[in-house]
């Protein structure tokens, strides 16, 4: 009931404000139209005066100046702030051993310091030591062993610099911090996941970057009866392309 009243009030407020915006828009449009009409009228008057002047004006010049007015068309400047790439590495799933992980990352560079990054990765968890020692015991099915995550993170470039290769090559590079939130699907359940980590990025050219990243993905798990925070540390190397 309370929600109903809130919904009603918010709807009324929203609609009334839209009404104001539309009214302003109509008023602005009318003003613009009036201005346009006035300009047209002025142009017509000027034209009439011009014709009058033309009749009284001296005869046209024999040589017409052959100068073309220079017109500049401003081409759109390409923005290159988006970075998309693939990566591969090792993921240590707490209690389930270390296994290969592969994934996709996409980043948007907002300023020279900050970027916004999305990550998606897949791995398959191994066997716990209990399973290995216990013989035929299976805690999870093969499907449940699949470890899939996605994350939205904010990154901060904290040590920008240059990396040198011999005498002739200098490549821009940076260390960065990452932190964000996301979801991990593991053992048949989706879990809210917080991630934090750091990475190093070097750009051999303006379009290609090579990354090395270490991230900890932390989520709550009650797989073994007690609810506990699990740390799943991941190290990856990847290549991205700037668009």
């Amino acid at each position: 009931m309370e929600t109903g009243i809130r919904v009603l009030l918010l709807t009324v407020a929203f609609l009334s404000l839209q009404g104001c915006a539309v009214r302003n828009w109509i008023q602005q449009r009318n003003e613009a139209r009036a201005e346009r009409d006035a300009a047209k009228e002025e142009a017509a008057n000027a034209n009439a005066n011009q014709q009058q002047d033309d009749l009284e004006a001296p005869p046209p010049r024999v040589v017409e100046p052959d100068v073309e007015r220079r017109k500049i068309t401003v081409p759109k400047i390409r923005s290159s702030n988006v970075e998309i790439g693939l990566d591969y590495g090792a993921l240590s799933v707490e209690d389930f051993g270390t296994n290969p992980v592969y994934g996709v990352t996409a980043a948007y560079h907002i300023t020279e310091d900050f970027f916004f990054q999305g990550e998606y990765g897949r791995s398959t968890a191994g066997r716990t030591s209990f399973e290995t020692l216990g013989g035929n015991i299976q805690l999870l099915t093969n499907d449940e062993r699949r470890f899939t995550y996605y994350n939205l993170s904010l990154g901060y470039n904290f040590l920008p610099g240059e990396a040198f290769l011999g005498r002739g090559i200098a490549m821009p590079s940076a260390f960065y911090w990452l932190g964000g939130i996301g979801t991990t699907k593991f053992a048949g359940d989706d879990r809210f996941t917080v991630n934090f980590g750091a990475g190093y990025r070097v750009l051999p050219s303006d379009w290609i970057a090579v990354h090395i990243t270490v991230q900890d993905r932390v989520f709550k798990s009650d797989l073994f009866g007690v609810s506990k925070l699990t740390n799943n540390i991941e190290a990856r190397i990847g290549t991205t392309i700037f668009f």
Binding site: T3, G4, R6, V7, L10, T11, A13, F14, L15, L17, Q18, A21, W25, E68, R70, I72, V74, P75, I77, R78, S79, S80, N81, Y108, H109, I110, T111, E112, F114, F116, L152, L154, N157, P160, G161, E162, A170, P172, G180, I181, G182, T183, G188, D189, D190, R191, F192, D206, F242
Partner: protein
């Protein structure tokens, strides 16, 4: 003088240029080795000489001089260069003026969706400085059920020129609910929703702002009574 000569000669040198050519009006234009304030200045372009703008990355422009040297020029310096016709080179700066009026914005949130933890992202397209079409997608993780939700609607920014400004939202969407495994396993379901809501946004710096919002969802179920779900979330966003 050089500028004048360049102006006279330029039309003869091929009309269609691939890149925009701009001319330096300050005593010199500094070029750095990388797109950041800490990279060293390795060359300068003298007054009245030109550079071609190759592309832009965040607040830096990659340019090429007449001699073919490539380097990075800062946004502040590029505000002082002119086009071949003498007009100032203008471009979106990504500052407070951009916050007041922009085309696109994107952001991420963490919050609460009917008692479940919510993670969501959104994108807005501004029809004018006050009215935006918004798309948001989220995933919620609860004790008894998980699910995804998506909304499409309109947002009205009440006073875009204020640093802290309220806004209102209205729209429609869906919710897909996956109950967690129990003895009696109820089926997954997808329902249509409608929402109204409000919130505030606060300009931080550069292209960033904070955004907090509340949405009251009406979930149209196939049962006799509809459900109401409250959504609260806080996040940060940027515009471009």
């Amino acid at each position: 003088m050089c500028l004048l000569i360049a102006l006279l000669v330029a039309p003869a040198m091929g009309v269609a240029r691939e890149y925009l050519q701009v001319f330096v009006t300050e005593p010199y234009l500094e070029l750095r080795t990388g797109p950041g304030r800490g990279y060293p200045v390795f060359t300068v372009v003298a007054r009245d000489e030109s550079v071609d703008i190759l592309f832009r990355r965040t607040d830096w422009f990659k340019v090429r001089t007449e001699r073919g040297v490539e380097g990075w020029a800062s946004q502040q310096d590029m505000q002082k260069v002119v086009l071949a016709n003498g007009a100032l080179f203008t471009f979106p700066l990504g500052d407070r003026a951009g916050y007041n009026s922009h085309r696109w914005e994107m952001g991420m949130f963490a919050g609460d969706y009917g008692g479940a933890t919510l993670i969501s992202g959104y994108s807005s397209f501004y029809l004018n400085s006050q009215l935006a079409a918004e798309l948001s997608l989220g995933q919620f993780l609860g004790k008894y059920s998980n699910g995804t939700t998506g909304d499409l609607g309109l947002a009205h920014i009440i006073a875009p020129e204020w640093r802290l400004t309220p806004f209102l939202m209205i729209g429609t969407g869906f919710v897909h609910i996956t109950p967690k495994a129990t003895l009696v396993q109820p089926a997954e379901r997808t329902e249509q929703t409608a929402y109204v809501g409000g919130g505030v946004r606060y300009y931080l710096t550069r292209r960033f702002f904070l955004r907090a919002e509340y949405k009251a969802h009406e979930v149209f179920t196939k049962r006799n009574a509809n459900e109401q779900v409250d959504e609260w979330k806080l996040g940060f966003a940027f515009f471009f």
